[in-house]
Point group: C2
Chain length 163, copies 2
């Protein structure tokens, strides 16, 4: 099923390649996590809470993970059912929970992490350290550009808002 030749734009092709790579990675990570009966998204939540011992609100979680508030609800429900996280009441703000990881959740993350690091290293094959770092820099620029294009021009509220 060879695709038809179409007018080629290297930057467009590169974008497709990037999305393709990340889809491959995401699929691989789904397979990777089945061993522990976790989805990649669930692990991301756990990892974040693991590095955030004070806990955080669901909205903070949603912003850190780049997902919608309403999605966090179900994600946490599933994790709470398995006692990997808890929703504690927040005295300072009775609207919000303070979500924390449990001892069990922490243990699970720490059991998984070494394998994850190992698998991640494999993905880059024998690419030299320097190139990897270069890619990280370039991609963070891409992230910024993407965010800028999808958000409605934040307009820095810090004095002096001339466009």
């Amino acid at each position: 099923m060879r695709p038809k030749k179409t007018e080629s734009n290297p930057r467009y092709d590169a974008l497709i390649g990037l999305l393709w790579a990340s889809e491959s990675l995401w699929n691989a990570s789904r397979v990777f996590f089945v061993r522990w009966d976790l989805g990649p998204s669930q692990f991301n939540v756990l990892k974040l809470l693991h590095d955030q011992p004070e806990g955080c609100t669901q909205t903070e979680l949603s912003r850190a993970l780049l997902v919608h508030r309403s999605n966090v609800t179900g994600l946490l429900n599933r994790l709470e059912r398995r006692k990997l996280i808890v929703r504690r009441d927040n005295d300072a703000d009775r609207r919000a929970y303070r979500v924390e990881i449990t001892a069990g959740g922490r243990k699970l993350v720490e059991r998984i992490l070494p394998h994850y690091h190992h698998a991640a290293a494999q993905m880059w094959g024998d690419l030299p350290e320097k190139r990897v770092r270069q890619i990280v820099d370039d991609l963070s620029q891409v992230s910024r550009n993407a965010d800028r294009s999808s958000k409605p021009t934040p307009i820095t509220p810090t004095h002096d808002a001339r466009a």
Copy 2:
């Protein structure tokens, strides 16, 4: 909400950065496509069929798009309802459809593509052509490694299958 310092692995960090960038891009592309009331996945289907005038089966589509067979069903249902694609009967194989893009679908894709190319170019900012191409190469290697790790060792059936 600063994250806790944890033992750092550059290749792991790079992977997270890659996934992060692609999530940003995906979100941006979702916003981008609302104008035409399309999801990114729907557009991917249309684009593929656009470059494939002979049409293809749903399974071929699923392989090309890296998604499950069962997902293609709903995707095509939504596109068919809007008359952007058609499922034609396949005389040679009565199990399979031959999915084709309609004139309307083709027109839509061709209206969108220029904007898409433009937006894609923006994402890379002023990164020099050479670096962009470099990234494409490196990422295609990553894709291969990811696929290898998630698929159960294909074992090339071409003679000589000693592990």
